[in-house]
Symmetry: C2
Subunit: 430 residues, 2 copies
């Protein structure tokens, strides 16, 4: 196909007319498709339904250590649940505290606790003039919302397929004592699906922060979310807690994970892993905050999956379902856009998203056009702090919720809108 | 029996010798009994086990409004769960947000949010020099731990069978802008089992706080926890939200409740109820904090209890079990202590505790003696802010966890220790 960027004004004008016609036809179909959020599809949740039978009125709800899981007690989580969650992120069970249903909630609470009480004895952030967080971009909108909510200044750090720009990270972290944290999704990142290289992880572990209360927020949300089978087709990242220990900085990172996209979103189990010192700090406030988390649900997960192998067997089935959707999107994108020079996109081997970069200044318009034709995308800008994409270029595509067929239809509308908006943009400058 | 306080030194000395002998015999039994926490007994939890069958792999996990409860969405709670929780506290469903498993967690988060963001747009508490909470005493230790954790100054307010001393409450709240809250357990209070009179509730609703961000923390933890059947044998309190509305102060109270002692502690459902304005404030941060709470567990509760009548039928069975334990304690206390003038205790018609007041200066010693004989009580002082009972007199008895027989044995040890410590105290002054 001829690149749109090589077209002259007449060609672009003709192209625009065709695309407008096609857009009207697409609109007439009255589609109602949602690729806005990383929601699992019903079919994927159906797979997990036998978990509902893992505990019944006939079950013993006594944990391995003899605790009655129906009653109060065990605020750090069941030992067997610690073991399961630890295996997901390759940590040691004693590094893990198992909490409620939401890792986002643990992250929010960690920031909130730092605001009111300071990190491990440091000055509470609410007493300081200025607090900054580094935000690799594009990134996860809900991370940015947490720091924004607490009035923390956010600084964009560009992402590459190797991870965040570590020269920039080192420069900020090692020299600016106002920099207290960085949001990371190290494996199959949201939205690009990039996994941090070994060098990146090691450079993280080797940071020598200007602020003693700087911490890495390592949100390993997609730790077990491979699209392909076989280790050689999957991404692997180094164990951040281990690398931090090796580098002599055991307290540098908080790691978060959950089964939200393993079992049931909202009814899964979430955990935080870190050093003994960091965990003591977390537990000191957690024990004031709650008598304990839902141990019955923790036990339900353990009884159902049995062990990490059991969990991974089910994740392979999830991966099979997700792969067909990702491939449907990628196929459509390639068919429609290869050679046009109006967009690039990532081809992740795992996670929940594809990241699309349109021509600068086009993302908002593309999302609006899609909406007009009945296809809901994540709001343009959402992948940046404050919702501000300086290039107005990045769009997050979430293939998980629709069926492969719907995903294919939605992508058809998407590429049409990309073309139309791009042609309009090129005509502006022609 | 002759009052210990009428005994002369010789009589007391003889009495002490007998008691010491009895104490050594009790110690030799090697008891291991725990009346320290308001933990439901296993038998009570057994009653709830059929809830484990309320949702199975064959179940439709679609809510009445068509929401797939297995997936993300519905951050305020399922409408049918709102209705159930609202009925427990006689509120309207639209006044309720259903959260996770812990009402303590909601209270903590409410205080924490007030610290970092201020109440409904007021100055964040962390920016203020001084924050005070009123604490009716004796009260619930975990309430006091929350305010202590945030460095909030706590002020003791004496309790009577009508509720907190309202003259004092009005004096503080209506004149001191640093007073931002009061901890209340209005029905079957912890630990006395007192229920606030209608006049007390109306005086709460009529408060005209000096601080615009003053709120009543109305922890209706024992709203449905009657020991006796029949409305005439149960305590009833006025609806605080309704009274606040009538008084023209709709935003004055946050009400909290949970099924922790209805279904499973730790695996129940908790809720907060308040005015529209207060709920908007709560939801604004809750939506940053989490994508949503565990809707599957909410649905499980709704499907199991069906409605408020179903829930109350089960609470009647709970009440029957609890009553036998309370009565076992009260019988032993009366048999052993009536007429001795060394202690008084409450006779609640509901809730989880009996409050015992020993001679001043004796509580710590009694608890220590009990421990020596294998009976664990709530630490003396725990029912007061900072763990400081100015009289060293109050002891909380939690009859819920042991069996009636164990409870009877434990109380036998308890009265023995009360006698022994009291005699020692009287001898000091004889």
């Amino acid at each position: 196909m001829k690149s749109y960027r090589q077209m002259n004004k007449a060609e672009l004008t003709e192209c625009k007319a065709q695309l407008e016609k096609a857009f009207e036809e697409a609109k007439a179909k009255g589609l109602q498709l949602d690729m806005s959020r990383g929601k699992p599809a019903a079919m994927q949740l159906d797979l997990v339904m036998p978990m509902m039978d893992a505990l019944t009125s006939k079950s013993e709800l006594i944990s391995e250590s003899g605790m009655d899981c129906r009653n109060y007690g065990g605020p750090d989580g069941l030992p067997e649940a610690k073991a399961l969650m630890a295996a997901m992120i390759d940590a040691k069970p004693e590094q893990v505290v198992v909490c409620g249903n939401s890792s986002l909630n643990i992250m929010y609470d960690t920031v909130s606790r730092s605001m009111t009480h300071g990190v491990c004895g440091s000055t509470p952030w609410c007493k300081l003039e200025e607090i900054k967080f580094l935000c690799p971009v594009p990134g996860y909108d809900r991370h940015f919302k947490v720091t924004q909510f607490f009035g923390i200044q956010m600084i964009n750090i560009p992402m590459s397929p190797e991870g965040p720009d570590m020269d920039l990270v080192e420069n900020y972290v090692n020299h600016d004592p106002a920099v207290k944290g960085i949001w990371c999704v190290p494996k199959y990142s949201n939205p690009q699906g990039y996994s941090y290289s070994d060098e990146t992880v090691r450079r993280f572990a080797a940071l020598t922060p200007a602020a003693e209360d700087f911490r890495i927020y390592w949100d390993n949300a997609y730790c077990v979310h491979h699209l392909y089978n076989g280790a050689e087709n999957q991404d692997h990242i180094l164990n951040i807690l281990e690398e931090c220990e090796k580098a002599g900085h055991p307290d540098l990172a908080f790691e978060f994970c959950s089964t939200s996209k393993v079992s049931f979103p909202g009814a899964g189990v979430a955990a935080v892993a870190s050093s003994e010192r960091n965990l003591e700090w977390i537990k000191a406030s957690m024990h004031v905050q709650t008598i304990g988390h839902d141990k019955i649900n923790q036990l339900r997960h353990v009884r159902y999956y049995k062990d990490f192998d059991g969990l991974m067997q089910q994740m392979q089935l999830h991966g099979d379902m997700m792969r067909s959707k990702f491939e449907a999107v990628e196929k459509r994108l390639a068919e429609a856009l290869d050679g046009l020079e109006i967009g690039t996109w990532t081809k992740p081997r795992g996670g929940y998203f594809i990241s699309f970069d349109a021509l600068p200044g086009c993302a908002k318009a593309i999302v609006a056009k899609c909406k007009e034709a009945g296809v809901t995308l994540t709001g343009a800008g959402a992948t940046f702090p404050y919702g501000l994409d300086p290039q107005d270029s990045n769009i997050r595509i979430a293939p998980s919720f629709p069926t492969p067929r719907e995903m294919s239809d939605a992508t058809e509308v998407f590429v049409l809108c990309v073309k139309l908006v791009s042609v309009e943009k090129l005509l502006e400058n022609a």
